[in-house]
Subunit: 258 residues, 2 copies
């Protein structure tokens, strides 16, 4: 690795969120940072990309010299357009975050933060998503330290093709962290329900709300952060369920008409 790696940072809370600023500060000590992030909040956009609208890109500036490209698009768009168009050569690493709110269990499939890192992996760039277990934002200091540790480890060791890291940080001071746990994606789910309301013109609309049901297995991402550990999960986007191939073959589709 050359002395100053090129670090692309993005997120799904938008370029004006506290988390990406904290990440930008933390990454300064490791390399040259380029920021390409959505212009507004894009939480729970999953792995969306923008194909039916033009994508606009604007330079923005924030405090202390923070500058970056604000993209009218999704987190995955940001990584694509950065890697393919805005940067002269691909970055050495994609770091997505610091997200306000954990991305663990089944919920990671809705996560724009994780999808940005997935997109980096698809482009062949080592990538990591970092989330803080607090939807209110909270103190970013612990996450900043974790980001530095994890990014340095990745730059040192590399990541195999098709694998990214999903990192979740408990919302506690760094000195209270019990350590790092390599975990599996748990089965915690967001148990949603819809609240029906009537607008002033007598029309109905719904809000989605609900609560997370935690997975209590000790090797899972959700359990780790509930118990004051930093969670690191290696994930992929190869979705084939190998165990079911044989069974499906026995369903005898070839005997069907058509």
């Amino acid at each position: 690795m050359k002395n100053r790696p090129k670090i692309l940072i993005t997120n799904d809370d938008g370029i004006f969120a506290p988390g990406i600023y904290a990440l930008w500060r933390a990454m300064q000590e490791i390399g040259d940072v380029i920021v390409v992030a959505p212009d507004t909040e894009k939480s729970a956009v999953g792995h969306a990309i923008t194909i039916t609208d033009p994508i606009r890109v604007q330079k923005v500036h924030r405090e202390n010299g923070f500058e970056g490209f604000a993209v009218k698009g999704t987190p995955a768009d940001c990584v694509k357009i950065a890697g393919r168009s805005l940067m002269k050569s691909p970055p050495d690493i994609v770091v997505s975050g610091i997200n306000s709110g954990a991305n663990v269990g089944s919920n990671i499939i809705y996560s724009g933060t994780v999808s940005a890192a997935t997109e980096g992996t698809i482009l062949g760039i080592p990538s990591v998503a970092i989330s803080l277990n607090s939807i209110k934002g909270g103190d970013m200091t612990t996450s900043q330290k974790v980001a530095v540790v994890v990014v340095n480890k990745i730059l040192e060791n590399g990541l195999p093709s098709g694998i990214l890291l999903n990192v979740n940080v408990p919302n506690i001071p760094a000195e209270s962290i019990k350590g790092y746990k390599i975990t599996r994606q748990g089965k915690s789910v967001f148990k949603d329900r819809f609240e029906k309301r009537e607008d002033p013109r007598g029309k109905f609309y719904y809000w989605m709300r609900g609560e997370t049901i935690n997975d209590t297995n000790s090797d899972t991402d959700g359990f780790a952060i509930q118990n004051d550990y930093v969670s690191i999960t290696p994930i992929h986007y190869q979705l084939t369920e190998e165990s079911f191939i044989k069974t499906l073959e026995s369903w005898n589709f070839s005997g069907s008409t058509t």
Copy 2:
């Protein structure tokens, strides 16, 4: 299985697309059909859900008695709100499609069609996504026959928890189909690039475009449809990369400060 199963159909091309109408017609012969689909096209929204906006639902009517709920939201929203709020009891199966355009290889992570079926699986309902390999729509007759075959097989055999089927149909007449192949998600990718344009006010914007690079392995989804087979891939949303857990543990994070 009772005589008339309850079939929830949805899609990502929107409730006024030809594909969902064709699916609605085909499903009539199997069960009682309820349609809950996005009010407009939501292609490539991935597994997005709507959490920062209210969700509106409106009844719509089309030709020949087609009626359904148009949702101002994503395909995943449609399945959630149908299962949680619009239907008195959950459906026996979720069928998503018929999508205009194949959903194979790496591209399935961007697919709203597949995400709707994934959401059904998360809610504990057997689910299937059906896509036709033609972005122009094309003749839906073959896909309709395939949908009937596959849905009947699922109703007959059930699907294990956490597994859904991703079905892709070649754009050829039914009599030219060579058969059904149980496949794996291939590595075909959409090789994207961004076209920069200037708007009439002198501002720049980008269009994403590109072409699909096919996977030529004979056990893959993309290869099957290129070779006149219906492709059926069992997929899951458990993203842990088990093979990398041991390596990550050897990275010795616990020796890091923080």
